[in-house]
Each structure stands twice: as structure tokens, then as C-alpha cells.
């Protein structure tokens, strides 16, 4: 197999990984079990790692291999483990009954967001000719970013909400490795570590909320508005 055919193969594989990534993002919006959300997030992180490995071969840069390893190590292994250790088992066996939007509607909105992601990526891709892995990673990353924001907005439980935010970060990365594979490695690795520290802080916060308020349904915390500031001054 000559190099051009090999690159083409790798690009097609990368497109497949990207497609599955988008599908899993949709799954994160739709699934109700907290446990399932954690599994889907792990899958997203593994897919991001796979894309990094494939791109490292296409662009011939070892930095992306390191990045992929760090990504799978932190996001697919360490973070799910941390979240599980930090929070009581009861949080994970829960099914979310109340969501802000019902699932078919959320999926429809997610579909719309995916289309917006593609539409907005198009003029940007025109600059570099639109060919190559950037043409796959940028629109899917953009769509994933928007869908992650939707996931975080429709969720009320702390863990799924937070996983939606982490999925946003994953999507930003998926786009990032496609358009900026030359980004210095130190920056990419530090970003992964930064996310790890964030997970620490959020699990402490969630535990404190669980202890003091007795729920992890953070979407129900809505006392701080100007309207309810009217409570009598007694």
C-alpha cells in the first residue's frame, strides 16, 4: 500500500471515529441513567484518543500520540474513577425522572445544533481548502460543543450536568487536534491536568451539596434571584 492510499485509509477511519463521536454525543443527551452517562462519557474520551492516534499518523507528529495517551489516561480512566469514589453509590443508581425538556425534543434540538455546527464550520474550512482531517474534526467538534452545552442545560442532576460540560471540553479538543495539530504539547497536556483539578473541585463541591442540602439535584437550586429577594427582613 503506498502512502497516499494509507493516508486515505487513515482519514476514512478518522471520519468513522468522528461519526461515532457525534452519535455518542447524541446518546449523552438522551440517556436517563446516571451510570450510563458515565459510560458514554468514557466512550467519548476513548474516541477522542483514537482520533488523536489516527491524526498523529496522518500529520506524522508524535505529540498527538502523547496527547491521546494522556487523554485516555485522565478522561477515560482517572475521571470516571474519581467521580465514583467521591460520590455516594446512591447518586449513580438514580434515574433522572425530571428533565427540563423531554427526550425527543432534546434530540430534535441536538439535531438542529449539529446542523448549525456544520453550517458555521464551512466558511472556516474554506480557508484551508476544506480537505483533510480538519474537514471532519472541526464540524463534529463544533456540533459536539453545542450538544454538550445542551446536555448541561437540560440536566438537573449534578453528575450528568457536569459530564455534559466535560463532553464540551472533549469536543473542543476533537476540533482542536484537527485544526491545530502543531499546538505545543505542554499546552495540551496542561489542559488535561487542569480538567483533572476541576473534577477534584467539583466532586468536593457536589459532596458538600449532598451533605448540606441532601440532594444532588442541583437544577432544583433556584433561590438566588432578584424576585425572591423580597423575603421579609425578619
Amino acid at each position: 500500500m503506498d502512502t497516499t492510499t494509507a493516508t486515505l485509509w487513515l482519514q476514512n477511519l478518522n471520519a468513522l471515529v468522528g461519526g461515532v463521536f457525534l452519535l455518542v454525543s447524541f446518546g449523552l443527551v438522551a440517556i436517563r441513567q446516571v451510570q450510563g452517562c458515565v459510560r458514554l462519557f468514557t466512550a467519548l474520551s476513548v474516541l477522542l484518543g483514537l482520533s488523536a492516534f489516527l491524526l498523529s499518523q496522518i500529520y506524522a507528529t508524535w505529540d498527538l500520540v502523547v496527547m491521546g495517551v494522556v487523554d485516555i489516561g485522565t478522561k477515560a480512566m482517572l475521571i470516571p474513577w474519581l467521580l465514583r469514589r467521591a460520590l455516594p453509590e446512591e447518586v449513580y443508581t438514580r434515574r433522572e425522572v425530571t428533565q427540563v425538556m423531554n427526550i425527543p425534543t432534546s434530540l430534535l434540538v441536538a439535531l438542529g445544533l449539529a446542523i448549525i455546527g456544520y453550517v458555521f464550520s464551512k466558511p472556516l474550512l474554506g480557508v484551508s481548502g476544506g480537505a483533510g482531517p480538519a474537514g471532519v474534526n472541526l464540524p463534529i467538534g463544533f456540533a459536539g460543543l453545542l450538544i454538550g452545552a445542551l446536555t448541561a442545560s437540560v440536566r438537573r442532576e449534578a453528575v450528568p450536568l457536569f459530564l455534559g460540560l466535560l463532553a464540551m471540553e472533549n469536543s473542543a479538543f476533537l476540533a482542536g487536534i484537527g485544526i491545530a495539530p502543531e499546538m505545543p504539547l505542554i499546552a495540551e497536556v496542561s489542559i488535561a491536568l487542569d480538567v483533572l483539578i476541576l473534577v477534584f473541585a467539583v466532586s468536593i463541591l457536589t459532596r458538600t451539596v449532598h451533605q448540606h442540602i441532601g440532594t444532588t439535584e442541583v437544577g432544583a437550586l433556584v433561590t438566588l434571584t432578584e424576585a425572591t429577594k423580597d423575603e421579609s427582613p425578619s
Binding site: F120, P123, L124, G126, V127, S128, G141, F142, L145, G148, A149, A152, A158, L161, F162, L165, M168, E169, S171, A172, F173, A175, G176, I179, A180, E182, M183, P184, I186, A187, E188, S190, I191, D194, I197, L198, A201, V202, I204, L205, T208, V209, H212, I213, V218, L221, V222, T223, L224, E226, K229, D230, P233, S234
Partner: protein, 486 residues
């Protein structure tokens, strides 16, 4: 190499403040580290004000005029906030473990704040900005009350949502630089190839970063978390959040403004005017005096952004930077004053505080000074900087922008003073005030000292500007001025 020490000192203080060596050890170490950083920063700022650059690791860790100015504000506010924390936290927390926990996080927070200007590579700056949010969230939740935890959740969720969007922006920015021929990814590197970067990529990157970091700055309509977090955190933390953390994120956005294609000034102005206008009206209906100052922060972020969009080259940017300086020092003073009022009254509600000037003269005077200064009354620092903005706006013929800005500033001025007057004058409401268990009789000495120190620049910068500060702001303004056409 001294610039690496500036964030390293608070980082060392994190470890030291965790040692169980008595109630006074952690606050003392924190204050010393903050003072050390301030001294080092002043040294570097003096060098830079003479037109030289300070470089530790070229392209990665270095200070130019704008960064040095921000670092100066960070370290000054760290000192006053550490001083205010000493008496304030000691009176509120009995448990030594909680005190150590507070100072460890306080130092982590000031470390992250100092890291933002010291780093020169945009992707690393993103991480530093992210650190400022991660390390402050547990400070927002410090009181562990229902409302504090709610504010902290909203805060971290929105901060991280913004961060993810901004991250994509920084990747696109890197891509734009690669398309223009590459070079080292740094603030200088971006300016060097600004003319060659494809405009569509620059605009896309700017929009992503504007939305992502705009959440942290508090631009309308992304400001909803701000009054919650800035009213629930302990007073010294509020001073840092409002005084400098918002400015830190704005710093990154302002760095990117000169990269935009010519003629984008009106868009920048509109975003600023929206923030200033909405905040000015929201100010009128608050019931909590800490939320009052939080909305005033949203308003001032808008004013700074309008000033940055008015044009006028170096002179125009000078006015915008002056506003950054005067807002930071004044707003931190306001939150110390609000903390003092909370300390002696035990309530955050405007309606429950009356006759403050008679009952607690020190806290009352501070609140009066803070209210007047932040509203923009002469002869304080904010008046001078707002006056420079108007002068520049008129010189540029931007009558609509300046007219609207003037209207909003006037509304905010009356809004702030209306609420402050209610609290200062009249007879005290004894029933409410005496009942509160949170109420104390005397303000601790360290809090009084912190108020005094924080008041110095609020008053002095309104009437006198040291030569070196003028030099530093002038150098910084050249970094922000639009690039000349090729």
C-alpha cells in the same frame, strides 16, 4: 527571573498555610507572600515603565506593559484582601482547620490570578484563567450555606461552559496564525502576523473567546451568575472576584481586539453599552448591597469595553486602561466596605440597615466613600478615568456611544447613591440589627487597616498620577492600539 517568583510566592504560601502552627500563622504567611509579590511586581513595573521588557522565558513567561499593569493590580489587591481576611475570617470561623482551608484556597486563587499576566502564550493563559475559576469555587462556597452552595454550582458550571467554548477559540486562533505563516504562538507572535491572518478565522476565534470568556467577565446576557457568586462569597474574596478576576478575563479579550479587521469598533462599543445599560437598570432594584456592587461590576466591565471600542489610537486605549485601574482599586474597596457593613450589621439586606453613619462610623464612612467613588463622583479615581473616556469619545466624534454611556453612568450613579443613602442615614432599626447573631460590635484592626490602605489609590489617583504609573499605562496602551495598516 523575578517574574517567576511573583506567582511562586503565593504557591509556596499554599503549602505553608496548611501547617497547623496556630491561628495567626496562615494569615501571616499569606500576607507576607502577597507583600513579597507586590514588591517584586513594583520593581518590574518600574523597569517596564521606562520602555524595557522583562523576559524570563522568551515567548512563554514575559511581561509587557499591559501584563505588568494587570499584575500590579493583582498583587496590590492580594495584599489588601489578605489584610482584610485576617480579622474578618478570624471573627467568623472558630475552627482552626477551616481557617487553614480558607487560606490555602485564598493563596491558590491569588497564585492563579498572578499567573494570567505572567504567561505570554495564549493556550497557557487559558489554563491560568481556568485555574482562577477552579481555585475560587470552593471560596465562593466557603460558608456552606444553601445559598452559597447554589451560587458556587452556578458559578462553576457556567465558568466551565465558557472555558470549553473559549478553548475552541484558542485553537482556531492558533490555526489562524499557522495560516499566516506561523511563528511562535504568543501575544507578540499574533500581533506580528495580524495583517496576514485570514479575517474569517480571526473573527471566529474572537467570537468564540468573547462568548467563552465573556461569561467570566459578566457581559450581558452571560452575567446571571455574577451577582450570586459575588454576593455569597466572603467579603475579601468578593473584592478579588469583582476587582480583578473579571478584569483578568477582560484582559485576554482586550488583547485580541487589535487583531480584528479595521472598523470593528462599533461592535465592541455595542457589547459594552449593552452590559453597562442593562446593569445600570438592574442596579436600581436590588435588595442586597453586595449584589448592588456586583451589578456595578457588570456596568464597569461594559464601560471599559466601550472605551476600548471608541478608537483614538494610543490615547484612546490609555483612557480604557485608566478605567481598568480605577475600577479595580475602587471596586475592591467597595467590597471591603460592604464586608465591614456586614460585619457590624449582620445582614446583607439594604432595607435592614439604617443610620449606619451614627451606629458604626468607620463602616459607614467607608461605604459612603465607596459609593461616591464607584459612582464616579469627583475627585476620585473613577471620575478621572470616566472623564478621560468622554474626552476621547468626543474627540473621535462618537457622539451616540458617548451619549448613551453618559446616560447609563448617570443612572447607575443615582442607583448606587439611592441605596447607599438609605443605609447611611436615618435612625437605626434596632429590632433586626440586635437580633442577628452574625453581628459584631467593633471592626477588627486589620480590617480597618485594609480599608485605609485600599482607600489610598481610590483617593490619590483622582488628583495625582505618579510619573511611573503614567509611563506604565502609556507603554501598555501601545500594546492595545490598533495595528497600523500595511
Amino acid at each position: 527571573m523575578s517574574i517567576i517568583l511573583i506567582p511562586a510566592l503565593p504557591l509556596a504560601a499554599v503549602v505553608l498555610s496548611l501547617l497547623p502552627l496556630g491561628r495567626r500563622f496562615a494569615p501571616a504567611v499569606t500576607l507576607l507572600a502577597a507583600l513579597g509579590s507586590l514588591v517584586l511586581t513594583v520593581g518590574n513595573a518600574l523597569t517596564i515603565s521606562r520602555g524595557r521588557e522583562v523576559v524570563a522565558i522568551p515567548g512563554w513567561v514575559q511581561l509587557d506593559g499591559f501584563a505588568a499593569l494587570l499584575l500590579l493590580l493583582v498583587t496590590f489587591l492580594s495584599v489588601t484582601a489578605a489584610l482584610f481576611s485576617w480579622g474578618y475570617i478570624d471573627a467568623h470561623q472558630r475552627e482552626p482547620r477551616r481557617i487553614r482551608y480558607y487560606y490555602a484556597h485564598f493563596n491558590l486563587f491569588t497564585f492563579a490570578l498572578a499567573l494570567v499576566p505572567v504567561l505570554f502564550q495564549p493556550a497557557l493563559v487559558w489554563i491560568a484563567i481556568e485555574f482562577t475559576s477552579v481555585f475560587s469555587v470552593l471560596l465562593v462556597a466557603f460558608d456552606n450555606t444553601h445559598t452559597a452552595l447554589e451560587a458556587a454550582w452556578k458559578y462553576i458550571a457556567l465558568m466551565f461552559m465558557g472555558a470549553a467554548i473559549a478553548l475552541l477559540g484558542f485553537f482556531v486562533l492558533f490555526w489562524a496564525q499557522e495560516q499566516a505563516g506561523g511563528g511562535h504562538y504568543s501575544w507578540d507572535g499574533l500581533r506580528a502576523v495580524a495583517q496576514q491572518m485570514p479575517p474569517v478565522l480571526v473573527i471566529a476565534a474572537f467570537l468564540l473567546i468573547l462568548v467563552g470568556l465573556g461569561v467570566k467577565v459578566g457581559f450581558v446576557p452571560l452575567h446571571t451568575w455574577l451577582p450570586d457568586a459575588h454576593s455569597q462569597a466572603p467579603a475579601p474574596v468578593c473584592a478579588l472576584l469583582s476587582g480583578i478576576k473579571t478584569t483578568n478575563s477582560l484582559y485576554v479579550i482586550l488583547r485580541l481586539v487589535p487583531l480584528l479587521p479595521a472598523g470593528s469598533g462599533w461592535a465592541i462599543q455595542s457589547i459594552g453599552l449593552l452590559a453597562a445599560g442593562v446593569a445600570a437598570f438592574l442596579l436600581l432594584q436590588v435588595k442586597d448591597y453586595k449584589r448592588l456592587f456586583a451589578y456595578s461590576t457588570v456596568e464597569h466591565m461594559g464601560i471599559i469595553f466601550v472605551a476600548a471600542g471608541l478608537g483614538g489610537g494610543v490615547a484612546g486605549q490609555y483612557a480604557s486602561l485608566l478605567q481598568i485601574v480605577s475600577h479595580s482599586v475602587t471596586k475592591s474597596f467597595c467590597f471591603f466596605a460592604a464586608g465591614a457593613v456586614l460585619f457590624v450589621s449582620g445582614t446583607r439586606e439594604i432595607a435592614s440597615v439604617r443610620g449606619l453613619l451614627r451606629r458604626a462610623p468607620a463602616a459607614g464612612t467607608a461605604l459612603l466613600l465607596g459609593g461616591l467613588a464607584i459612582g464616579g463622583a469627583p475627585p476620585f479615581a473613577v471620575f478621572l478615568s470616566e472623564f478621560s473616556i468622554f474626552r476621547n469619545g468626543l474627540a473621535q466624534g462618537q457622539y451616540v456611544g458617548i451619549g448613551l454611556l453618559g446616560l447609563f453612568i448617570t443612572i447607575a450613579f443615582f442607583g448606587i447613591l439611592l441605596h447607599v443613602n438609605r443605609m447611611l442615614f436615618g435612625s437605626a432599626l434596632p429590632r433586626v440589627a440586635e437580633q442577628s447573631s452574625e453581628r459584631h460590635d467593633h471592626l477588627p484592626r486589620t480590617c480597618q487597616l485594609a480599608l485605609l490602605v485600599a482607600a489610598v489609590p481610590v483617593v490619590v489617583l483622582g488628583v495625582y498620577q505618579p510619573v511611573w504609573l503614567h509611563g506604565l499605562i502609556s507603554v501598555a496602551a501601545t500594546t492595545l492600539a490598533p495595528l497600523s495598516a500595511p
